[in-house]
């Protein structure tokens, strides 16, 4: 039996507002427990919520970017359940009048554009954080009351890989809007996934399971893959899927049941009487629309058009807004019309430095001008590509300039044939087999010989010059 995979994602996003959703406490991450609380976010008797208008604006902005219908009127509801991280034992959320609904997000999956429906986008408040200790549990309410945006997709996602693409694209856009840190490690972006299988081509949806506790996009993909396998094996062997919530265990790489539908709670939603109905004017929407910056897709198209980048290169360089701005500054100031060297260097060594440090490029602390200075040496063949990479690492680690590093380490490469002559002769003498190989048509053998010369010159020889001289000498020998 073959199955279609049906996936829907629920993303929870902490909005990067200065203060919490319904009080004026700070939202800064990482401070001492319970140092950012007040009677309102602690749910003290008699306290009342007042909506943070910036949170509403951010939410509308996200709704607009996802092409949602923004409701003319929106209201808040209470979601009632008991838990010690929820001081009022209800969460202020939105139920039947979400701020935005019926939008979509286009993603590229296997070179095809796929449109994923967005069912709803709504505002709610975050809960506190439980910390379980050996003999008891304690609560940190610093996070409690921070504005959360819940973005619910339609079950339009057809594979774990697509889910990954959806999240990557969503994060990229949200990052451009600067409405959230989108940092899964800090918990400012969280994702739950619903997944079910149905017979290939069937109309009716299968029974779904809801997956929780994934701490990265990769974990979302792995949890979904595991779940697809599990469900498929179960169905194939004649078993039945039960509707349940399952937790992803990162260490074991598997999901396990948390609670079934029978135990599902009745949240007893009803309109929050402490907050009025909010009317969202066309005027307000227009103002917010005008504040939306150039988004990754538009920026990507512009990079392709203005700088002659390939789609692949443009996509990588526009993934995050800050890095795209960095790339743009580099591209704009780069003297050559042909941006090949710059682009290769950006998506090569520069990006891999950032990946190694698990940060974005901007966080490496290098200014576009510093990078261009380094690339000038490379462009003018004063240093080799290898040297350039070494100098880059040095620049990041020491915050020293390229000029200083190259000068102090005497890294300008040697292109003078007279100076290289002796070493090249020596290499030819020491590697007769490779010389023979090259003569018999093995091009790789020449590259090996070039490498040997580079070694003898501690990487300072100009590889192009070395190559020319080598060819010349082998031919004439």
């Amino acid at each position: 039996m073959e199955y279609d995979v049906v996936i829907g994602l629920e993303v929870h996003l902490q909005l990067a507002t200065r203060t919490k959703a319904f009080c004026s406490c700070s939202t800064v991450f990482g401070n001492a427990p319970n140092s950012q609380v007040c009677p309102v976010c602690l749910g003290f008797p008699g306290s009342l919520p007042v909506l943070n208008e910036t949170a509403l604006d951010y939410a509308i902005k996200v709704g607009l970017v996802l092409d949602c219908i923004i409701q003319e009127q929106t209201k808040f509801d209470r979601k009632n359940y008991f838990y010690p991280d929820l001081p009022k034992n209800y969460q202020i959320s939105q139920y039947d009048l979400p701020l935005a609904k019926n939008g979509y997000l286009d993603i590229i999956s296997e070179n095809k554009t796929r449109r994923i429906g967005i069912r709803r986008v709504h505002l709610e408040e975050d809960a506190g954080k439980l910390i379980h200790r050996q003999n008891n549990s304690v609560v940190d309410f610093n996070r409690c009351g921070i504005a959360l945006l819940e973005i619910v997709s339609e079950p339009d996602i057809k594979s774990p890989q697509e889910a990954y693409e959806y999240l990557t694209e969503l994060k990229s856009i949200l990052g451009y809007l600067e409405v959230s840190d989108c940092d899964m490690e800090k918990g400012s972006l969280r994702c739950d996934a619903n997944v079910s299988l149905k017979e290939k081509g069937a109309g009716e949806l299968g029974v779904k399971s809801e997956l929780k506790n994934m701490n990265s996009f990769r974990a979302v993909k792995e949890a979904l893959s595991f779940e697809v396998q599990r469900q498929s094996a179960l169905l194939t062997s004649g078993g039945k899927i039960i509707q349940e919530t399952r937790l992803w265990d990162e260490k074991k790489s598997e999901t396990s049941p948390m609670r079934s539908k029978e135990e599902a709670q009745d949240y007893r939603y009803f309109p929050e009487p402490d907050l009025p109905l909010f009317v969202i004017s066309e005027d307000k929407i227009q103002k917010i629309r005008e504040s939306i910056p150039e988004l990754p897709k538009e920026k990507m198209q512009r990079f392709i058009k203005d700088y002659g980048l390939s789609e692949y290169e443009a996509k990588i360089l526009t993934a995050s807004k800050k890095d795209a701005d960095f790339a743009q500054e580099c591209l704009g100031s780069y003297p050559d019309k042909n941006k090949k060297i710059l682009v290769n260097f950006l998506i090569g060594p520069v990006l891999s430095e950032a990946n190694n440090k698990n940060c974005i490029v901007v966080a490496l602390g290098i200014k576009p001008q510093d990078l261009l200075e380094l690339l000038r040496f490379l462009q003018q063949e004063q240093i080799s590509y290898l040297t350039a990479k070494i100098v880059l690492t040095e620049m990041i680690n020491t915050k020293n300039s390229a000029v200083n590093i190259i000068a102090s380490k005497n890294l300008i490469q040697v292109s003078d044939s007279a100076e290289l002559d002796g070493r090249i002769k020596a290499v030819i003498g020491e590697n007769p087999k490779s010389v023979e190989d090259y003569r018999s048509g093995k091009v790789n053998a020449l590259m090996f010989l070039v490498g040997q010369v580079m070694k003898k010159t501690s990487g300072k020889a100009n590889p192009k010059v070395v190559q020319e001289i080598l060819k010349e000498k082998i031919k004439n020998a």
Binding site: P39, F44, S47, L48, F82, P84, Y90, R268, F270, D274
Partner: protein, 481 residues
């Protein structure tokens, strides 16, 4: 002349003239409390409290005037527990907006707080964890509720002014039973910030006073928009003292026929009719009107109010403040702690309303109960809108009967709920209403006259009430406690 028997506006004059100081008033009140409180029980935690702080601004509207506060209004550092065991020892870290405003105008906040039905759930103050308050006019009777302590304190001259809260009549009904003035302002007129919520869409804080002039004075201080309460309304507050004119000429009064039904106490009916005739004598006109959805007010109220209450009271769980009863066994500690704490902490009426409210919000019942109740609430509001298109105010009895005996209705919650039948509609419609003394039964129990007006027309209430008061002397009668 005992200072504690005087109205605030009279005391203010004496204070300004330098004849007395604030401490004299507090001393007089404490002497009275010492003498009568063992019979009235208007205050709670009387023993544990210190003397109130004096010396707030000398030039405020209420400088030097003591005000008694219902136990559900937060006072910084001072125990506020809604007369419930579950909030045992809870000292709010902040003042309610009304308390802040009182302090700013120089008022003295009395440290013992006034008794009430637990979480304002009741119409007799019998549901207090601390035991019932007694009606100063007949100690065998209830003072009404839920703000029975505030009403009784003012009636017994144990307080000059008091604050209460009114969700379905909790100010007006006890004001009527105790023969004092009590007002429920328009929803949104007075900030609810710091009022421990019963039913958020119905609750309003309001004044108790010995006369209409004092009620207007207190309203001047506590009214107004508050950015901490999103349901408070940004409408400018007039000086209510300016509406204290002895003149009702041409005022059109509607008398709703649904409020004068069989089964109401004939004495109350007669006394209220006489009051209406009196107003006619001074130039007001009246005509019978209809509020056709009146019969649904009580059921609608008990759905909406309990639904909101069930959610509002969820926070009392033993986690952060108040009572916590620990689990016996280490297994399932959290659930057991919740259950034991709430089981021990809430009284019977609180439990009944939490269960009712939880039920009406439950999956599968929401549409049939809560949603339908909201729709009927709109119809009730529209009834009033229609009448107020042609009339300046509506007059009704505040209650169908005078104060009943302690213990008379505790076993029959439905009967108890019906004692609010005339007051509930104003909360559902969000309109202002006042209760003023308008006579006594042969048994010597006070009867209250309720005046209702359209939203933010408190001035009309003060004008009609003041005119009636100026031409009668019911408000000057004092109970013998």
């Amino acid at each position: 002349m005992e200072l504690n028997t005087q109205a605030a506006h009279q005391l203010s004059n004496l204070l300004k003239e330098g004849q007395i100081n604030s401490q004299d008033i507090v001393d007089a009140l404490y002497r009275r409390i010492k003498a009568t409180e063992s019979r009235v029980c208007a205050y709670v935690r009387l023993k544990d409290t210190s003397l109130p702080k004096l010396g707030y601004p000398q030039d405020g509207v209420l400088s030097g005037i003591p005000v008694a506060i219902k136990d559900n209004i937060c006072t910084e550092g001072l125990v506020t527990q809604c007369c419930s065991r579950i909030l045992e020892g809870f000292r709010p870290p902040y003042d309610a907006t009304v308390i802040r405003k009182l302090k700013k105008e120089g008022a003295v906040i009395l440290t013992p707080k006034t008794n009430m039905d637990e979480f304002a759930f009741g119409s007799s103050t019998e549901n207090s964890f601390f035991g019932p308050t007694h009606n100063p006019w007949d100690l065998r009777c209830v003072p009404g509720g839920s703000s029975g302590g505030s009403a009784a304190a003012v009636a017994a001259d144990e307080a000059i002014l008091a604050l209460g809260s009114d969700t379905g009549g909790s100010i007006r009904q006890p004001a009527a039973f105790c023969g004092v003035v009590g007002m429920k302002p328009t929803y949104g007129r007075v900030s609810r910030y710091g009022l421990i919520a019963f039913a958020s869409s119905l609750d309003q804080i309001g004044p108790f006073a010995k006369d209409v002039e004092d009620a207007a004075l207190l309203m001047n201080v506590i009214s107004g928009y508050d950015s901490n309460d999103s349901t408070s309304v940004n409408v400018s507050v007039p000086d209510y003292s300016m509406s204290l004119t002895n003149d009702v000429k041409g005022i059109k009064i509607g008398i709703p026929k649904e409020y004068f039904i069989e089964g109401m106490d004939p004495e109350v009916k007669k006394i209220v009719q006489e009051a209406i005739d009196k107003l006619k004598q001074f130039g007001a006109e009246y005509r019978e009107v209809s509020l056709p959805h009146t019969e649904y007010a009580v059921p609608v109220y008990y759905i909406i109010a309990t639904a909101e209450a069930s959610s509002n009271l969820a926070r009392f769980d033993g986690v952060q403040y108040g009572l916590r009863t620990l689990a016996n066994s280490p297994s399932g500690q959290l659930m057991e702690m919740y259950k034991k704490t709430r089981g021990d902490g809430f009284g019977a009426e609180a439990k009944r309303r939490i269960m009712l409210g939880t039920f009406v919000l439950s999956h599968g019942y929401y549409d049939a109960y809560y949603l339908r109740a909201l729709k009927v609430r709109t119809l009730i509001k529209q009834d009033f809108d229609k009448v107020f298109a042609d009339f300046d105010c509506i007059i009704t009895p505040t209650t169908p009967t005078p104060a009943f005996k302690i213990g008379e209705k505790v076993k029959d919650p439905l009967k108890m709920y019906l004692s609010d039948v005339y007051t509930i509609s104003a909360n559902l419609a969000g309109i202002p209403a006042i209760s003023i003394p308008c006579g006594f039964t042969k048994q010597g129990l006070p009867v209250g006259l309720q005046i209702l007006a359209k939203p933010f027309a408190e001035e009309m209430l003060f004008r009609v009430a003041y005119t009636y008061e100026q031409n009668t002397n019911w408000h000057t009668a004092k109970p013998k406690v």
